[in-house]
């Protein structure tokens, strides 16, 4: 395994709310992305996954903790951020919104080069990015406008725009959620190919565990601002350990788990994080009494942020700690 290229340690992002309340959107996250590795960050709406991505991109300033790229801590000066964004690129969910309808595909892809004042071989660079993103022959797409492309082609154009600066890491926020089902596979196959051909690292944010199964090497499950389980995809998804991950996997059609566990209620407010274990109010193991041996811990002790460790399977759950004799 390569050393992590992008890493977060103890990352926290707070938002001030009216009345002086504070929402802890991201509340103590350790996360690593190595080159040539696809990491999936999964969780429900409101769990903080998009805020975490924005913080990793320097779009949101971390309230606590550190972000490092290639071992160097991220600095927030204009110049430092600009050079950082050559290395770490963002791909958004909806390609129709990400592309200016009055710019041609060529202009959309070349924009990054122009911002970074890279003038030499512009045409060649744009053509290379387009063909890497699967728009071939690239010249055919130079003068196309977004409305002339299909949804899948538009997302490829957005990906080409991210690739043109030859980044080391891409952060993709629900990259296929707005695409038709039959087109999704092609875009996911493209991300896998970029990982292999360019040794690109990727953080893919998704609510779709099937997508993680299709392409990711590791997965982190996020609940209410924290990563509650993290590890290799094969282990986390086929043998989930945290009660929350177990519930998420159990409700999938054709789940590897026998019984669907439908959690009641919804994600609590990030301004009122439950005391003790933050998942306790919705936890089946706690409610059913099967966690009675550790109930005191569930009520009174926060299982704490999960340390990130390449290829280890980590679970932030008191019950799991006791049952498996695992390290906290």
């Amino acid at each position: 395994m390569n050393p992590p290229l992008l890493s977060a340690r103890g990352l926290g992002v707070d938002f001030g709310l009216p009345g002086g309340r504070v929402a802890r959107a991201v509340d103590g996250v350790d996360l690593d992305v190595a080159s040539g590795e696809i990491v999936a960050l999964a969780g429900e709406s409101g769990c903080g996954k998009t805020t975490l991505a924005r913080a990793l991109l320097g779009l949101e300033r971390a309230t606590r903790g550190t972000i490092a790229f290639g071992g160097e801590p991220l600095r927030y000066s204009g110049r430092a951020l600009k050079s950082y964004r050559r290395d770490v690129q963002l791909i958004l969910q909806d390609p129709s919104g990400a592309l200016n309808p009055r710019h041609t595909v060529y202009d959309a892809v070349a924009e990054g080069l122009r911002i970074h004042r890279i003038a030499d071989k512009e045409t060649e660079r744009v053509a290379e990015a387009l063909s890497r993103a699967g728009l071939r022959p690239p010249e055919k797409f130079f003068s196309s406008y977004p409305h002339e492309l299909s949804g899948g082609q538009r997302q490829r154009a957005v990906i080409a725009g991210a690739l043109v600066l030859r980044p080391n890491v891409i952060i993709a926020d629900e990259p296929v959620a707005s695409l038709d089902a039959s087109v999704r596979g092609e875009i996911l196959a493209l991300l896998l190919r970029l990982r292999d051909e360019m040794d690109l690292g990727a953080l893919v944010i998704t609510h779709d565990l099937g997508l993680a199964w299709s392409i990711a090497d590791r997965i982190a499950i996020m609940y209410l601002g924290r990563i509650v389980e993290q590890g290799p995809v094969e282990r986390v998804l086929t043998d989930p350990q945290h009660p929350y991950t177990r519930a998420l996997v159990s409700v999938l059609p054709d789940s590897p788990l026998p019984e669907p566990m439908i959690l009641s209620g919804e994600l609590p407010d990030a301004a009122r994080i439950p005391s003790g274990c933050r998942f306790r109010p919705r936890c089946r193991a706690y409610a059913s009494g099967s966690a009675s041996a550790v109930a005191g811990d569930c009520e009174g002790a926060d299982p704490g942020p999960l340390p990130s460790e390449a290829s280890a399977h980590r679970v932030a759950c008191h019950l799991h700690r006791v049952e498996r004799g695992a390290e906290p």
Partner: protein
Amino acid sequence: MTLLQIRDLNVVYHGSRGAVPAVRGVDLALEAGRTLGIAGESGCGKSTLAMAVLRLLPRSATVSGEILLSGEDVLTMGWGRLRAVRWAGASIVFQGAMHSLNAVQRIGPQIAEPILVHENVTKAVANRRAAELLEMVGLPASHARGYPHELSGGQRQRVMIAMALACDPDLIVADEATTALDVMVQAQVLELITGLVAERGVGLVMISHDLSVLSATCDRIAVMYAGRVVELGAARELFAHARHPYSAALGSAFPIIGDAASRRRPGGLAGDPPDPADPPPGCSFGPRCPAAVAECAEAEPALLALPGEAGRRSACFVAQSGGAVRGETRGAVR
């Protein structure tokens, strides 16, 4: 009597690009207490089909064929009868609850409105029914005094279901009713819908692009492509063992976790659906089909029963002659 019987339904939109066929010769049937899934992607005609069932299409659409709701043709009903049938005979749950609910009206009166229109009851009775409906869909009755913006997406979708049930319809059409929801909330809403179908014996037509959700919730599935039903069969078998190359490709877009065959091999399909105003000659799936043979470019295959496969129909020459459609067998079927 069959609850819903659709015979040779054709819908053509007339716009600036001339006549655009959206639904072409669809035949479907649904019995009371059963669920039929309609799968397909944007533009395949599935939502047009849903709207046609309640005659909600714009004037620019011409509709032909028959839509029999408990034996009565919706397409030839007078306006008075149609008004009576909407809500009480059949109702629709749409995808975007935020756009379907009135943002400046409290929730209780919105649910009570169809009851007041359809039944000769007092406001107090209708409001009481609205409160009961909210509890039936798992929301506290106190939400009747709230506004839509005060609810989460999942709660709003529950309100839409409560409205659809308000006049005790025989048929519910759910058009991508859970698509915008998170997995856990989707599971909650699906459990609610299927529970209500079983309890009250209503018929459910569930429309979605997500073949895996349909296979887990429905009895039968019809897969639509370019305005036609291209495959029809029992839900589980169709998802696990598709007999049309399009269904196979659509199914492989939803990997089964734990299935080694789909690990790091995202399934999909090159190309895009055809432009309905300018369809390709022969089979409309031909240009994207990995299994196409020469015959496919010449004529459009009809939806025919496959010999030896009970209840399965496929509109594919290759499947009809007993050939294999690529990727037709998925990993372990649980």
